[in-house]
Symmetry: C2
Subunit: 211 residues, 2 copies
DNA sequence: CTAAAATATGAATATCCATTCTACAAGATG
DNA sequence: CATCTTGTAGAATGGATATTCATATTTTAG
């Protein structure tokens, strides 16, 4: 009949979660460095200090580890973007806020972002199976978030009359390429976040001098 | 002593090249659809209508096929970009020309571009081995080409005083994301090349209304 | 037409690795 | 303390597939 008392099972639960996180964290570094296909379960097990068999008590399979990893982080990033949009008042400022938050998030989550960027353009059709649902949906949610923001800016006259979705996509492309190369070079000197302002200027004001 | 006569060996050479191209072309479709790791030599052989062993007469291994494929196309794209830059006169027009050419190339080489985009952000560290040399170098050459173009534009006063390399990178990111999503959706109605003009406007003039 | 050289073949090999399974340990329970 | 439950271990299994190699076919040339 079960003890039924919460405290005990709660601790179990917590410990289970903690171990799960440890595995994810170990896997994150490996996937980031070597990609999905060149990371073996044996390596993950070793890095997480568990036996291979144990991993399967926490995750259905290798893909499940990968997906859990990406999903939770993408979710987190989406949350942060939503909050950022909320706190800014003008359309212009909202765009700048999005840029800032994304750069900061990348700065804070380098390993993840390396996975993420290659995910958004490539793995989608490589690890496909379960992806359409979780990650891709949240990715589109990000694009939509910014697209709506642009739509509002157009209505208010702050922005030119463009296709909001295409423009949002362009912005994300700009950011991703900037972030990705920054991660690759990884010079400890250059600050990624500092690039936020000129990226905002470029996107909002353009490269040309004549208005 | 050899016949020494050229004509004969020339034909051989041509036929060899032709078969090589056939293999590359077959591989292109498969890699594009399923990615490097989920494409087997058996599949390539079948698609190219050769036996597996024969493939190894033309290429050292699977990776060699992949690399040859990407390298030759990237080279081609680079050439086209160089020409495009040459034929335009103003800095502004040169940027627009680059955008046009890249979009047209993507339009014409959908399969390749799908590989390319995932290559530029992801496979680089996954299929790594021989890449640093060929593909990556040519990719950077593209970035540099545009960076120089921007530098000139700054000198002539046409462009604002930005970091040319970062800005070039941002442009390429914009284009890649636009192209990539277009390929995924693949609606036969929307023209990719038609997006060139507003992408040029956006990049040069910015999203905002106030100069 | 026939022998030698060059090509093409695809079954056999060897390696790699995700996943499973049986045995062992630690901790809870009465 | 004995038993039962839960968690951990890592060797064994099975499947996949890149690459090789002995054989067969085609082409060349005398």
């Amino acid at each position: 009949m079960k003890t039924g008392s919460n405290p005990r099972s709660e601790r179990k639960q917590r410990e289970y979660e903690a171990r799960r996180e440890e595995i994810l964290s170990a896997a994150e570094g490996l996937f980031s460095q070597n990609g999905f296909f060149k990371t073996s379960m044996a390596e993950i097990a070793e890095a997480a200090q568990f036996a291979m068999g144990t991993l399967y008590k926490f995750f259905k399979n290798k893909e499940d580890i990968y997906i859990s990893l990406v999903e939770s982080k993408v979710e987190e990033m989406l949350h942060q973007l939503e909050q950022a949009v909320r706190r800014a008042k003008s359309a212009d400022e909202r765009i700048r806020e999005v840029i800032r938050v994304k750069l900061a998030f990348a700065d804070q989550n380098r390993d993840f972002f390396r996975i993420y960027v290659s995910e958004w353009s490539g793995f989608e059709w490589t690890v496909k199976s379960a992806f359409g649902d979780g990650v891709w949906k949240r990715y589109l949610a990000q694009i939509d978030l910014v697209a709506n923001l642009i739509k509002d800016g157009i209505k208010s006259g702050e922005f030119q009359n463009v296709n909001p979705k295409d423009t949002s996509l362009a912005l994300h492309g700009m950011l991703n390429s900037t972030i990705y190369v920054w991660i690759l070079k990884a010079g400890p000197k250059e600050s990624l976040v500092d690039k936020g302002e000129w990226l905002g200027n470029l996107f909002l004001g353009g490269l040309g001098t004549k208005g």
